[in-house]
Symmetry: D3
Subunit: 251 residues, 6 copies
């Protein structure tokens, strides 16, 4: 089985961390191919960057030349899963949703610990749209952005642990989900500290992808996630052009 | 990995069908041990029988002498998952919940086709309590009880297919879940007929059990699903006695 | 009118307290017959024990030899009401639901104060399944288990009062429900202290049973709560055998 | 025990029917005093008329000279219960809410059959505000206004029965509530025809009033339903003046 | 365009403040006519007073002799909007609903700061009935009644600001709505202090009235808000008589 | 006041229709500037095309050189509003949300009539995420895609009218929203035919933009919709490159 794991941001170090986490979870016989966005933000901390990353992820999936059995989209709360489902030739697994599915299987209520306060709304929306909000106790923010989580692991660990502890003590969470690909690797440590299961989204995405592929199932094509059809689309794929572009800041 | 699959009813033929479905889904290296209730109903078509089966399942799990890595409870809509979670030494997977989890991963809305109208409420409650109701389009009844599904597969197939077709056409379901262990085996046929993915609960239970065990996770013990503790319990396990009992009808 | 009040646990002292509370509430002309579980836990502080008690209660009701007009099941948050409804020959009143019904009639929002944190989920589920969650402000735990509430009334009173006070001050509850049969008798005292109505479940169960019986109504038999039918059931009733059993601990 | 039953409309024949229904339900020892609005509409088929009736009911209750133990407001879906609760010296029972409470106690889902389509929204709102919407399967309209129900009982019976039958067959209602005081008296006939319990609001109001009064409970005064206080109110009570007014049509 | 702005209370100073706020918001070419209740409370701090005001507002609108293009009802959380919609010849705008509509357009979640705790329930109900509860973070009370807000602007400002600050910091509100006509005028000051948009209900009502009128739209008359029809109504309009009445206190 | 109206698709004829509708609604003194996507689909009938359009719309807004007072995004159910809110210098109005806001102001329940079944999910999600789902009776599909609506107005009119009629008759809608910019212009005709108000999204967007701008309000910047900050973004704006691209089909 071959799983495409797609990092929606452009960071090399986060792509490597995601790749390691995916390989660590993969069963023997599962091949992991980790891709990363060719354009967009280094760390996704806004809906602006999230929407851009959704297009970058669709771009990667639609131009990937070889067969694959599943796609794992490695953005926690980023938009785009439904679009990838339309164009991928195999089932698609959003890591935020997969983490929540796994959390619901092993505990009564779960919380998510993510990066910035401004990102909690997008995660709440993603869980609600996926029908997974009912058992969500809270989405809490550690107060670091995505790049800071990557660059300052000591502070990140401390703040994430503090929010996870508050989720258990105040929000009655019985499982904690790590709400950022950059947090991958902290799961065992936080679980040991708090005495609750901690779910890493990358691992959940790979594990559920394997499960669904082994069941012989794929995305329903009967209506919402049917292929887009023969609509004329101007400027696609955008990746053909991006090599000419430099980098700038949105504000 | 060793998975206990527990049939909550006492039917030998349904136990065998469940065992076959579980083995068919299991990955190489996964051992399936299928147990069945020692007391209770041959087919569970009431909450009366469902509650009795919940105790019978807890009885089987708590007296099982050897180690195991996961438990799959093979009743669709039967009560009891939370109780098994408390006493099992490994994570527990309810097939109704697992079917819904898988359905949500591959389609926008799902329907369940079950046996009798009177059983739809219990399934709706199970999905709601598990936080999985938001994407449930409908729970439909084929109009046969559990034993009839087992004994008259031609009529069962026809009625189940009719309800699955109505779920897609009228309720906008994009995935269908087969809501009775006795329906296991019909999934491929109905999927081919309707052009939507069809999820078998036993397969979903085994696949998600493998996924969660491979993630190294188990039930959160911090609060709701902690072990029951040292409470004095009279008459437990009931299975020690049931050999002396005959069979009778509840009404 | 004759009301069966069924204590789902095996405790003699709690059965007596329940009997007193039921007789205290009963109108002249209402006969109270209080039964207690023949097997299961002395105090129900887990879903394991709750499911076992559900079967024990169905056992008592189905083997009760004489006519009766209503059944009150005296477990707060225990599963099983739907099963008893199927097999009883008269309407069935769950005390958690009845307390919530009465609370909604006299106040805007209500809270429940129960025993242990681990039991709050079961009460929340019971209220939600009964369609009574919308006006529930909180379910709070006093931190004592059922047996401790029975044996240490001074500490129980203090902790229950503290949680009831917090429910009013922090959760905006305007009515408090006592969420454990063992708390029966504290209602007047807490009401006097806090200045809000306090609802005792046993009293609510008896009062609503009288009301519905006087209306000439009983359980709808048209679908969900129809009698279980002629299904073969092995090992029923379990009570025939339990006399041979000793007592042991589940873990 | 003395119960004030307040008909919110000005119709003499409906007041008499309400009085009969209330007396029929009342236990020995319960005194029924039935009042009717001194101003407002003969039959309430709009929110305009409903709001006017809410004031007329408050007027009756606040000027009633003698003690009483409970108030039953006999409008099905009319606004005003919360206002009466503030000024009454005893607990207040809205018949729409009481019918729903009783229905939830004896069946899984209930429907209401009322008069006109335009009135269904007000009933849905009343049930939602009272936290009783979760188990409401539908609110259906018979297509006659309140006065027509009173004057043409043959047609009313036929149309109400047709909607009740549809509620059971199509909406999965297991209990039917009669959603208009003028329908009182049809309950037994429709129940016999359809094989489901049928709840009359007046009977439910009286029965629950007796239940709550016997529990020694009354409206929580701690916040929402506290007495209005010493606010200056111009023109109150309006009933002092209405004797001088004639009758006219609002449009 | 001519907009009737109707103050549901009888206070002269609040009527003037409302009139100023409405004129301040009105576009050039919009004529504002501000009316006030002829009977009822000086400040509405109970549902009793709210229901009386609903009738007083309907009275004003139905007896207003000249044409108008829209009605703005200037009570925050008062009942009655649906009744006014039935009898008005133009669309009707409730200021609580309008404030919430505007808040949802400019922020993720909003809070309301109102007068007394006892009034929060009515505002919550109004928002829920209008389908606007999903993005409401909280309804908070400043602890002053309506008349006190009017008479002690310094204390009112301080307490309202404190609650608005708490709504932002603790409830994650991103927009604050001022939940009382008497608070009109504080919006800019609080917005400057807290750095979030603050919505005044009167301004929102006038702005949305203008928007809808400019779209050429009015209330749907097809069902719920159709005119009340030819029902006989006794004692209407009440305003004909109220000139004879003095003032008294309700309790 | 200057309003940017942004058509998310690349169709010239739809851009012209949108521009006409916006100018028709605009008050004297309001300047309308209508832009259209520089890349992406001619008609948006998939989430793939919707996400691409979200980026194209952000691109247009972020590179627009002159000041403006509001942005109206003219895609009905397209993703992206939150991203535009982050980068625009003025408040942003999504036409699907604006249509629903207006519909709720003038009727009890509303339905949306859109193009294809596959697009209903995206509209339902948009309304739910915006907190506007509670009063949505249904989202119905006319069975034509966006381009067909534009090219075959006779068939479009017939099918849209049929669905609008069904929404009123079967789903109890009291207001109909036209769920596609290409339907603009049909509102009056359908309203006349059905006797209910019909809301055009472009008109609603312009009217509410004017209302909010006149209130002096703009997007809350305190958290969710703050500007994206100084994140490095590769390949932005994409529009610099798209001139080099041709057109192709996504599948």
């Amino acid at each position: 089985m071959k799983i495409l794991v797609v990092n929606p941001n452009t960071s090399k170090s986060m792509t490597e961390a995601i790749d390691r986490a995916a390989r660590h979870q993969a069963s023997p016989g599962t091949e992991i191919v980790t891709l990363h966005a060719k354009y967009g933000a280094e760390g996704i901390d806004s809906t602006f960057a999230g929407l851009l990353s959704a297009v970058a992820v669709m771009d990667l999936v639609s131009t990937y030349p070889d067969p694959y059995d599943a796609v794992v989209t490695a953005g926690f709360g980023e938009p785009g899963r439904e679009g990838v489902q339309e164009i991928a030739h195999a089932p698609v697994f959003d890591i935020a949703e997969c983490a929540a599915h796994v959390a619901q299987l092993i505990g009564r209520r779960y919380s998510v610990v993510t990066t910035l306060s401004r990102s909690t709304a997008a995660i709440e929306d993603r869980l609600a749209v996926a029908g997974l909000a009912a058992r969500c106790a809270s989405v809490r923010a550690a107060g670091l952005d995505t790049v800071e989580v990557d660059r300052d692991p000591v502070r990140a660990r401390r703040e994430i642990l503090a929010q996870a502890r508050a989720a258990v003590a105040q929000d009655r969470a019985e499982v904690v989900c790590l709400g950022c690909s950059g947090m991958t690797g902290l799961a065992d440590e936080i679980a040991a500290e708090l005495g609750v299961p901690v779910v890493d989204g990358i691992a959940a995405g790979v594990a559920l992808a394997e499960a669904v592929v082994r069941m012989g199932l794929s995305t329903s094509r009967i209506c919402t996630y049917a292929a887009p059809g023969e609509t004329a689309v101007k400027g696609w794929p955008l990746s053909d052009l991006v090599q000419f572009l430099g980098i700038r800041h949105p504000c």
